[in-house]
Subunit: 337 residues, 2 copies
DNA sequence: ATCTTCGTTGGTAACGTTGTCATTACTTTT
DNA sequence: AAAAGTAATGACAACGTTACCAACGAAGAT
């Protein structure tokens, strides 16, 4: 199995079909002005030899790499896989491919991964959020292709940004809880709050609650990766600190879901004893009963637009009107508030 | 922003530090036998110029690409992101990177994506399942690097395989339901059963139920991608066909979860009126109440091993004892059976 | 003092493709 | 029928790196 004396190259194809290497090249990449006869000869030879293009060689000569570096914090919740689905669909039909890296919610790791990625000379870069190390910014300042920062639009984009406002998200959660009459509100986060986007939401919500006259009672930040189990643990800790809390908002739906089940298991009445709000609008949380009150983020759409922007830029459309695409979020009122 | 007159190359670094290009190259890739003086000169020059390696050029000369092609069906449930997390961790410390493609549970798409991927001359290939088109097999037969097929081990691997047995999974589900006393058992699938692995499980379960004398009553295959909503719809259809069903097993946990909530909403007693079994062991389904009876698949571990195998092979360890790594599954008995 | 050996450095030639320009063959125009 | 285009093909060099081999000097062996 798996032996190949030597891969055949354009040279072989050219030799077999009796044409020049460059003509063979033109046929293989569908360049214009090729006679039908030539095309057929070359295509047949290529087929006989099982010829495969070598894009490494092509990229070296041609500069453009047709690789898009995508750096996400993690795959452990649905957010980034959904974004990548969108990117994949946007890139379909182009020759572009995603090369993947994970930063684990750590800016220094992001920097290292980016440094490595750039050695592949990618055509574009997609990364998460607007916060990066100075070295990351420096590297990207010298990068000549499109750069899209996804998820967060509260701040200055390096180049292009697609996402939703964390500030708006946090504020919306705070207002909703206040309007529904809750006054003793707490927060549960995870990842040691290294996820800057959830931190921004918490801060915005806290500020809004302050403004409304119902300041955040307390918060529990779990150090672990977010999961339902950690959400349950978080609520448990919260209630141990203060049993009079009447609402909890979570960094995301996974945590909230765990919190919800914990409360139910404890015999608490949700939302009368305690109200719960998540973030993201995962469909799993919309199929349970009571449905989780949460904020729907257009994750697929964000990925899709990011991919579209990369393509647009690469194909020369330099005139992208808005550097920042601010997408809308939507409060999904469920039965937990 | 984003202009770069010209990226500096090894030649520039060599010129600035007054050494030969090849020496600069050796310093940049930590080759042995470099004097300290030379190393320092070169590193300083590289820093001054902001030199970045160009691995496209390096790969062309050196053959090895340090890219691993990863083709998964979809990112829409947790299975493949979890596997990719495992791969990423396994690849950490090497210079290898994942290049991503999605087949959408379609063998022809897989073929097209693979064809494209191979033009990047990857060092290894990871793909899902053991079923591929003839053309895919043909391409892979000519591929010289390691090939790992993940998730399924029921069949012959092209090269290496890591996963669990679908047959064993299906049989285990059937036995469990039978042992718990259920006799009127039905099945709900999705993706139009284009996911061959869930099909294999269904077939195995069906055979075992037949053998045990409690043949499958009926099954509903939804055409859509699997989601809780589709699972709920599936159960609804099932109960419309036959109200006497006493147990349902699902192609996966997402469907089962939706089914569970649907049954609860309909006022059915789970598991007394109807028992439910999922597949995968997603943690979200283990934090709800009742916990979902399901089969835990070691997804992260599968990715991890796949990555380890790729690395081992690339670094010359040709002596991999077992071509197929058959990992264990585990029945998680929850409150739904 | 001469011969090895080894650590260190350099020169040359690829790797497989494609951009650029040149050339040939074939139309169309006047 | 000559001039002027245009379509089709080819030659060459280059992209930035590294494999391979050669060469140098210094240290150790004889």
């Amino acid at each position: 199995m798996n032996k190949n004396p030597r891969k055949s190259t354009l040279k072989d194809v050219a030799a077999l079909s009796g044409v020049s290497v460059i003509s063979a090249s033109r046929v293989m990449r569908n360049a214009p002005n090729i006679s039908k006869a030539l095309r057929e000869k070359v295509e047949e030879a290529a087929k006989t030899l099982g010829y495969q293009r070598n894009r490494i060689a092509g990229s070296l000569r041609g500069q453009a790499t047709e690789l898009v570096a995508v750096i996400v914090p993690s795959m452990s919740n649905h957010v980034f896989p959904n974004i990548m689905d969108g990117i994949d669909d946007a890139l379909e039909g182009s020759q572009l491919r995603q090369v993947l890296g994970m930063s684990k919610y750590d800016a220094a790791t992001e920097e290292a991964v980016l440094r490595d990625m750039l050695t592949w000379n990618p055509a574009g870069v997609i990364l998460s959020g607007l916060e990066h190390t100075d070295a990351t910014r420096e590297m990207l300042a010298h990068f000549s292709g499109p750069i899209v920062e996804v998820m967060d639009v509260d701040g200055d984009a390096l180049d292009l940004a697609v996402g939703v406002s964390m500030k708006e998200s946090g504020t919306l959660i705070a207002r909703h809880l206040f309007e529904e009459g809750y006054r003793r509100i707490a927060y549960v986060g995870a990842w040691g709050e290294r996820d800057i986007r959830s931190l921004k939401r918490r801060v915005a919500a806290e500020a809004e609650l302050e403004r409304l006259g119902a300041p955040l009672v307390t918060s529990v930040i779990m150090n672990e990766a977010s999961s339902p189990q950690i959400g349950a643990d978080g609520v448990k800790q919260l209630l141990a600190i203060d049993r009079n809390i009447d609402a909890v908002f979570f960094a995301n739906d996974d945590l909230a879901l765990g919190g919800l089940f914990y409360c139910q298991a404890q015999g608490l009445d949700v939302p009368n004893d305690v109200a719960l709000v998540g973030y993201n609008g995962l469909d799993i949380c919309q199929s349970i009963s009571p449905r989780l009150t949460t904020i729907l983020t257009p994750r697929y759409e964000i990925g899709r637009r990011a991919g579209d922007l990369i393509r647009a830029r690469i194909s020369g459309a330099d005139a992208i009107s808005d550097r920042t695409s601010h997408l809308d979020i939507q409060l999904l009122k469920g039965g937990t508030t």
